[in-house]
Amino acid sequence: MSAIYRREMGAFFTSGVAYVFLTVFYLISGIFFYNEVLLSGSTDVSPMFASMFIIILFLIPILTMKLLSEEKKNKTDQGLLTAPVSLWDIVLGKYFAALTLFIIAESIIFVYAIILSALGNVVWQTLLGNYFAMLFLGAAFIAVGLFISSLTENQMASAVASMVVLILIYLSEMLVADYANGGKIQNVLYTIVTKLGFYSRYIEFTNGVFSLPSIIFFISVAFLFNFFTVKGLEKRRWS
C-alpha cells in the first residue's frame, strides 16, 4: 500500500494536478475567507465553510478522475494487478493519496486562523469542528470519485460523471423538500433522501453542532465506496 501511496503522491505533483487543485482551493477559499469572514468583521469561520461545500463538489473529481481510469487506459493496471499486493492495497493506496492532498489543501484553514487570531479571538471549537466535518465530507466524496474513476477509461468521463453524481447528492435534498407533507410514497422518499443527505449533515456542523452520527455516516460512505471499487476491480477480472 505504501508503495502505491507514495507513487500516487509523486504523480499528483509531477502531473501538475496537485498544483491546480491547491491553487484553485486556496484561491477560492481565500475569497470566501475575505468576503464572509474578514469583511463581516467576525472571527467565525462557519460561513466560509458553508460556502466551500459547492467548491468541494467541483474540486474533488479533479483529484480522483485519473486515479484508476488512467491506469486502465495505459494498461499500467496490469503491473499493479499482477504484483503481489491485494486489491485493497491498491485502492486504499490511491484513496489515501488523494485524501492526503485534500487535507493539505484544507489545512490552509490554520493559516486563516493565524490571521484571525491577530485580529481577535478565534473560536477554536467551531473552527476545528468545521475542519473535521469538511475532512470527513471530503473523505466520503473522494471514495465516490475513486469508484467512478474505476468504472471508465476516460479521465474526462470520470471527472464529469463524478461532478454530476456529487451535484445530484447536493441537489437531492432540495428536490424532495416539498415532499415532507406529501403522500405516503413522497413521505418515504423524503425520509430516505434526508437521512442520506450530505448537505444538511454538513451544514449542521457550520451551525455549530458537532454531530458524531454524521461523522460516522461520512466514514461509512467512504468505506462503502472503497469496498465497491475493490469489488468492481475484482469483478473485472472475472468477466
Binding site: 505504501s2 508503495a3 502505491i4 507514495r6 507513487r7 509523486g10 504523480a11 509531477t14 502531473s15 495505459n74 494498461k75 499500467t76 493496471d77 496490469q78 503491473g79 499493479l80 494487478l81 499482477t82 504484483a83 503481489p84 499486493v85 491485494s86 477480472r237 472475472w238 468477466s239
Partner: protein, 371 residues
C-alpha cells in the same frame, strides 16, 4: 513449476481459451506461438492472475493463483504486451516503485544496478520514461519483470519494437535467464521462438494445437508427406501442367496437388501432399514411365516451423505419424474440422498454399499457382 489444468476462459459467449492444459518444468524456456487473437495474451494474463479463468486451475510452484494470489504472484515476473510503465516517472523512480511494490528484500542499490545492467538501461536511469524510445521502454518493462528475481518469468512478445541488434541482445538475455528462471515467452516471430525456446506450444483459436520441441515437431511430420517434383511433359505448354496435375491427383494416397511456377521453359514444378500413410514415389515413377514424362527432380520437403505453424493455424491439418522412437513428445494436432465442414476446401487450400508461398521471400517471382 507451472501447471495449467483444463483452463477455459470465456468472454461472454466468446470462447477465448478452450480447455488448455500444459506443464512447464523448472528451468525450461517455453515458447508460446499463435496467430493474432489465438489466446496467447489471454492465457498469459490468466497465468499471472491479471484475469481469472472461467474454469480450470493454474498452479505456480504448487500455489493456486486464485486461492493464494499474493504468494503465487510473488513468484512471477510479468512483462505484458504493453509494458506497464508510468511514463511521467524517471526510470530510477519507476524501478524503485516496483521494488517497493514487490516488497523486495534484496539490497536495493546493488539489485537495481544489476537489473539495469542486465537490461542495458544503466545509462538512462535518470531520464523520464516519456522521453525514451520504444526499445528502451520495452527494456524498462523487462527490468521491471526481473526485479526481485522471480523464479518464473512470463514475457508477452518481449522483442516487439526493438531493432535487430537489440533483438539479438534480448534473445541472448532470455537464454541466459532461462538458466536460472522458468521462462514463458510468446511471439509470432518464428525464428525467435526457434532460437530461444526449448519447447514450443502452438495455440490456435484458443486450443492447444501442438506441444513439443521445435525440431521434433518438424521431424515427426514424415518427409514422404510433402514433396516437390519437376516433370517434363511432351508438349512444353500449359496443357502439360493441367494434364500432369490431374494424373498426379489420381495416384492413390495423394491428397493435394498444386502446380507451381514454371521453373524451366515449359516445365513445371508440382507440390504434392499425401495422406502420409504410403510412399507414392514408386507409383509416381511408374505413372511417368507409362505416360512418357520425365521426372527431372524429386525433392522431399522438410517442413519448417513456419510450415507447421501455417498449417496448424490455417486449420489445414497435418496427420502426424506417432513415432515410437521418441515417446516423450506429445503431439496432438486437431485436423480437418473446418475443411470437412466448409465443402469449399479446395479453394481454401489454394489460398493457404499461396499464402505460404508469399511468406517465402526467395520465391518472390512466383506467378501464382493453379491446379
Amino acid at each position: 513449476m507451472i501447471e495449467v489444468r483444463n483452463v477455459t476462459k470465456k468472454y461472454g459467449d466468446k470462447l477465448a481459451v478452450d480447455n488448455v492444459s500444459f506443464k512447464v518444468e523448472k528451468g525450461e524456456i517455453l515458447g508460446f506461438l499463435g496467430p493474432n487473437g489465438a489466446g496467447k495474451s489471454t492465457t498469459m494474463n490468466m497465468l499471472t492472475g491479471y484475469i481469472s479463468s472461467t474454469s480450470g486451475q493454474i498452479l505456480i510452484d504448487d500455489v493456486d493463483i486464485l486461492e493464494d494470489p499474493k504468494k503465487a504472484k510473488a513468484n512471477i515476473g510479468y512483462l505484458p504486451e504493453i509494458p506497464p510503465i508510468y511514463v511521467d516517472m524517471t526510470v530510477d523512480a519507476y524501478l524503485n516503485f516496483i521494488y517497493d511494490l514487490k516488497k523486495c528484500k534484496l539490497p536495493r542499490k546493488s539489485h537495481l544496478a544489476d537489473v539495469c545492467n542486465l537490461c542495458k538501461i544503466s545509462d538512462v536511469r535518470k531520464r523520464i520514461i516519456k522521453n525514451l524510445s520504444k526499445g528502451y521502454r520495452q527494456r524498462v518493462g523487462l527490468a521491471q519483470a526481473l526485479i526481485n528475481n522471480p523464479p518464473v518469468l512470463i514475457l508477452d512478445e518481449p522483442t516487439v519494437g526493438l531493432d535487430p541488434t537489440q533483438i539479438i541482445e534480448i534473445r541472448t538475455l532470455i537464454k541466459k535467464l532461462g538458466k536460472r528462471h522458468t521462462v514463458i515467452l510468446s511471439s509470432h516471430i518464428l525464428p525467435e521462438i526457434q532460437a530461444v525456446c526449448d519447447r514450443i506450444i502452438i495455440i490456435n483459436k484458443g486450443k492447444l494445437a501442438a506441444d513439443g520441441k521445435a525440431d521434433e515437431i518438424a521431424k515427426n511430420i514424415t518427409n514422404e508427406h510433402k514433396m516437390t517434383v519437376r516433370i517434363e511433359g511432351p508438349t512444353h505448354t500449359a496443357d502439360d501442367k493441367r494434364v500432369i496435375a490431374e494424373a498426379l491427383k489420381k495416384i492413390s494416397g495423394v491428397t493435394y496437388v498444386r502446380a507451381d511456377m514454371e521453373r524451366e521453359k515449359g516445365i513445371y514444378d508440382f507440390d504434392i501432399e499425401t495422406d502420409g500413410k504410403c510412399d507414392i514415389r514408386r507409383d509416381l515413377n511408374k505413372l511417368c514411365t507409362e505416360k512418357g514424362w520425365n521426372i527431372l527432380m524429386l525433392q522431399l520437403s522438410d517442413l519448417t516451423l513456419e510450415d507447421i505453424f501455417l498449417k496448424i493455424t490455417m486449420n489445414e491439418g497435418i496427420k502426424v505419424e506417432s513415432d515410437s522412437d521418441t515417446p516423450e513428445i506429445s503431439l496432438s494436432i486437431k485436423d480437418g474440422e473446418l475443411i470437412a465442414s466448409t465443402g469449399s476446401a479446395e479453394e481454401e487450400k489454394t489460398e493457404t498454399a499461396e499464402e505460404t508461398e508469399s511468406e517465402n521471400a526467395e520465391d518472390s517471382e512466383n506467378n501464382g499457382g493453379e491446379e
